[in-house]
Point group: C2
Chain length 145, copies 2
């Protein structure tokens, strides 16, 4: 008899992102992207949750996402949202108002990835000072022979 944990381990063993031709390498490439990380953080509700509290996922309109993710181009945001919808990480709902309202919401699969992307954003923000100090130290050293 195989347990659920065994099955999970087995599935994980079938794919190996270290291999260039494994489909999971492309999936890792897709999710290792700052716009994916920030979109998941936004829909996961990170912006409205103070540090230390659990964020509540929320549906957001295209225009809200575009405003929150400063610097993202319309083309990049549209492409990234389409890819995430195709992968089943979020749903896109069109409400026939005038003009139409388009909202995006995380699926359960998207929520499972959100826990990690939230961690990545928090890591970058929490360790920024340490990284800046490391860079200064590194640049002050004599160049490598």
């Amino acid at each position: 008899m195989t347990t659920k944990a065994d099955q999970k381990a087995q599935v994980a063993a079938e794919y190996n992102a270290f291999l260039a031709l494994c489909p999971s390498r492309r999936l890792l490439d897709r999710i290792s992207n700052k716009w994916v990380v920030l979109i998941l953080c936004a829909l996961g509700g990170d912006t409205s949750a103070p540090p230390g509290t659990t964020p509540a996922p929320k549906a957001m309109r295209y225009s809200e996402l575009a405003r929150l993710l400063t610097g993202v181009s319309q083309k990049m945001l549209t492409q990234t949202l389409r890819a995430l919808e195709r992968d089943g990480l979020l749903t896109r709902t069109v409400t026939p108002t005038v003009p139409v309202t388009v909202t995006y919401e995380l699926t359960d699969l998207g929520l499972s990835l959100h826990h990690l992307t939230r961690g990545l954003r928090q890591w970058a923000q929490t360790h920024m000072d340490q990284v800046l100090t490391n860079r200064e130290k590194h640049d002050a050293q004599a160049p490598r022979p």
Copy 2:
């Protein structure tokens, strides 16, 4: 009196990766990269740890990394390792053998990020089948009006 948790929350509040000009946006961009994820997974010891066990970090030679990360170009691997060294995520040690031996090892800061990159790789491998099913379903639907 401020506790350590308060201080951490305060530091995290100073930086905001949603903002295009915040240094943490660039750091998030740097770490949201498949080669960074795979290098940290390799040096974190993920390849030698069976699923469910805790991996033991290990020092690796340049050539070992190049072999493990199939498809990575020499230029990309060198650039990524240098950036990670500058940020203080790994150390580079040169042993004066003939030819010289160059090894890379995670620092404590690198190890703190490894927990997240390990999760990302595992997520991609574990949810690959589900994502493939979602894509098939999505592509079978009529094209959007």
